[in-house]
Amino acid sequence: MKRALLLVALMTVGGAALAQEDGLGAAPREPTEEMLQHCPELRGAIGLKRDQLLALFFELDASSVDEKRVRSIFSLPRDKDLLEGFLDEKGRYRAQSGLRAVVAGLGSAGLAWAAGRFENGKPESRGRALDALVAVKAREAWKLLEARLEDKRPVPDWRAANEAPPGYKALRVCDHAVRLLGSRLMDVTTPPDTRVGSLLPIEDRDARILKVKDFLARDAAYRAHVAKAPSLLGELDPKDRELLEGLGVK
């Protein structure tokens, strides 16, 4: 028995060492220097915190959400501070892909959290909160983004303002929304140009958003897709339903 256990232990260590040496495939469980550059929080992290950081930064795939995996290591409201920190931080939106996967994987809880952060969080985090909905298949995500095409509130971006070429004007909520809708619509239909950037004059952005709004109102493929999309409304708390209604999701 002891020998068997020793053999298993040796194989486990050897396997991990091989995986680390290979450097390809699944993220090594011991963070490399490069991984630590992207996620300094990993240094010294152990247990659940480490699993969450590895998942957020290196493992979760928003294009193919592993709900079981997400729910095994994330839950709300337990992890709201961790996730909110990445919405608020200055600099690059480091956890963009991982947060999309977490929000989608947590179902109604993820939707409610992202909507709540959008409406009640810092203005600087509105764009990221909407971005976190990109992988949510539910009808409510579509409706929320579509409703936000009317929302001209600014989304201050300290990093962009300091890094941009001449002509920069901060994106607004509606700019984020049309861009994100564009990403989601790629597999559904062919909308007019949804690329709206911070160097595009405001009046030009408004003209594009108007075209997209008209398109969404008329396009049969889009309307059918949204009608068939699953709904999370029935799983939401009354206060979260109320929040979404306030954001135009009916």
Partner: protein, 575 residues
């Protein structure tokens, strides 16, 4: 009994001497013919016979008449006994085919000798009634196939016989500098001598692929191997390319069991791998056995990781599940080219200025740069720069930068621009009064506004005088963004002295505002993909490289990029 013993003894002697057995199977070859046609007269010809099965062949004959006329016949043939019967047609040429023309029916018969050589033949044309008889004067027959060549994959495992001529092996072009003697790639140095062109041997060389030659047990004493391969390959006796150990195409070497080394020199065209062939030559020079294998020399794909990059883990994960074998940096992958043809790819994850110069000057490469834009000043593969020249200078002549931001938030806390490096309009006597002019850059479907700062001025544009900082030199500026005193820009002289010869095929500038900042630096060549806004996605560099490897079109690639982060565009400049 005595005659039987005599025959077997003779056969044994013939085998020992390496002379072809009198009952050898006809294997085709290339033969020179002379003949006379009933219409046209005397001619000489080149007759090519290529096996397509145990007793079937593809035959073509190009005839040159004394009058100077040439004509080509081609058809399919079957061997029955000692007679090769061909049925085909005359060639109408490419234009004729386009015009829907059909050739005239051609039938031919050739006699095959017991030595595997064609002896004589006759042919006839159906429509014109022309007939001819010909003799084969010289020729080279194909040798029997034997196990002379063992290809080894990148994990050192022999390639199965059935796959040697189909899947073969994949090999990277030897474009790195393992022994670090190809040049430093320092400021202004744009030419690096890669290991491919290193004629002094390469210590630590790790890009060659071993293969084995196997001498048949019954090969005659004095047999030799003849190696044939294209100029996209090189063969070496030593792994380190020691001088004097190269075996050239067409060289013969002593036939023995031996390990040699393949080097990739240039990428194979899509769908057209290289053929490494080996012939066993008898002491009299006759080819008795032949063998061959396919070698796909890979095109190169680079992920250049600059300071501020968004992680290579997405690409590493994809490579982990698509790699051909255990080789690393480059990882070898079987993919496609833009036309959907089979193409091997060598994928490099590199992160130095020298490596960036190699990548940009590699013919046909696809490259994603992932890192800070540094306001168009150039790429940084390290931090803590103190002067402009330490950046990879591949920029416009003058660019506006956020100096305090570079110092305080992009890890260059000691960065200093001297007055002489401040941007200027050289056409005026005033110090540091650069002029901004409008510029529109072209995407696939859209145009994007930006500004440029020509060094000589151009009589138009908006002039910006220098404003000196109160307390620190790095507060000197030419303008404030939205009148915000904490968000200033100073125009500095940049330039492109680090830009090597531009040879890439596709390039993705995956840095913030990559298009507005670098469109003119990298434009004019190949296909340029670029961001148009602040970039965050950790996936898009990988998506770009994977799309190239999978042979996706530009539009498909753009769609995949914008699904992840809807800020990208591209423009095709052509070669």
């Amino acid at each position: 009994m005595r005659s039987f013993k005599a025959v077997t003894t003779a056969m044994a002697l013939l085998l020992f001497a390496g002379i072809a057995h009198p009952l050898d199977t006809f294997l085709g070859g290339e033969f020179v013919t002379t003949g006379t046609a009933s219409k046209g007269g005397a001619y000489t010809g080149v007759l090519k016979v290529t096996p397509t099965g145990p007793t079937t062949f593809r035959v073509s004959e190009e005839l040159r008449y004394a009058s100077g006329n040439t004509v080509t016949y081609a058809g399919d043939a079957t061997l029955s006994g000692d007679t090769l019967r061909v049925s085909g047609e005359t060639s109408v040429g490419f234009l004729g085919k386009l015009a829907g023309k059909k050739g005239e029916g051609w039938t031919a018969t050739f006699k095959v000798g017991t030595d595997g050589m064609l002896k004589s033949g006759s042919w006839a044309l159906a429509k014109s009634g022309t007939t001819a008889s010909e003799t084969i004067t010289t020729g080279k027959k194909n040798a029997a196939t034997g196990d002379l060549l063992v290809l080894l994959d990148g994990s050192g495992q022999p390639v199965a016989k059935a796959k040697k001529k189909t899947d073969g092996v994949v090999l990277a072009v030897n474009l790195d500098d393992d022994d670090k003697d190809g040049g430093s790639g320092a400021d202004g140095v744009t030419t690096i001598t890669t290991d491919r062109d290193d004629e002094n041997g390469v210590s630590n060389e790790d890009d060659l692929l071993a293969f084995r030659l196997a001498k048949p047990a019954n090969a005659a004493l004095g047999s030799r191997f003849l190696l044939s391969f294209s100029d996209k390959l090189a063969v070496w006796r030593t792994k380190t390319k020691a001088p004097g150990t190269r075996i050239k195409n067409g060289d013969t070497i002593e036939a023995k069991d031996e390990t040699l080394w393949l080097e990739g020199r240039d990428a194979s065209a899509g769908g057209t791998p290289e053929t490494l062939s080996v012939q066993l030559l008898a002491p009299n020079g006759a080819a008795t056995l032949q063998d061959e294998g396919k070698v796909f020399v890979a095109r190169s794909a680079f992920l250049l990781l600059g300071h501020g990059h968004s992680s290579s883990s997405s690409l590493e994960s994809w490579l982990g599940s698509h790699k051909a074998d255990s080789r690393k940096n480059p990882v070898l992958v079987r993919g496609k080219d833009e036309k959907g043809k089979a193409q091997a790819w060598a994928v490099y994850l590199w992160s130095t200025e020298k490596q960036a110069k190699i990548a940009l000057s590699t013919a046909g490469s696809v490259i994603a740069y992932d890192g800070h834009s540094n306001f168009g000043l150039g790429f940084a593969f390290e931090t803590n720069f103190s002067r402009v020249s330490q950046f990879l200078n591949i920029a416009d002549a003058q660019v506006p930068v956020n100096w305090p931001y570079l110092r305080d938030h992009q890890d260059h806390p000691n960065l200093i621009f001297e007055d002489a490096e401040y941007g200027d309009d050289a056409s005026t006597p005033k110090f540091s009064d650069p002029v901004a002019v409008d510029r529109w850059i072209q995407g696939d479907n859209d145009q994007y506004h930006t500004r440029r700062w020509p060094a000589g001025g151009n009589g138009g544009g908006t002039r910006y005088p220098l404003v000196r900082g109160k307390d620190y030199k790095w507060d000197d500026h030419h303008y404030l963004v939205d009148s915000d005193a904490t968000n200033a820009r100073i125009v500095v002289k940049a330039g492109s002295r680090d830009m090597p010869a531009k040879r890439w095929s596709k390039l993705f500038l995956n840095s913030c505002y990559g298009g507005p900042y670098y469109y003119d630096s990298f434009g004019g060549r190949g296909t340029l993909f670029f961001t148009t806004d602040e970039a965050s996605s950790p996936l898009t560099s990988a998506i770009f490289i994977e799309s190239c490897i999978e042979g996706k079109s530009n539009d498909q690639t753009l769609k995949a990029l914008n699904k992840a982060e809807n800020i990208n565009d591209y423009h095709v400049f052509g070669e």
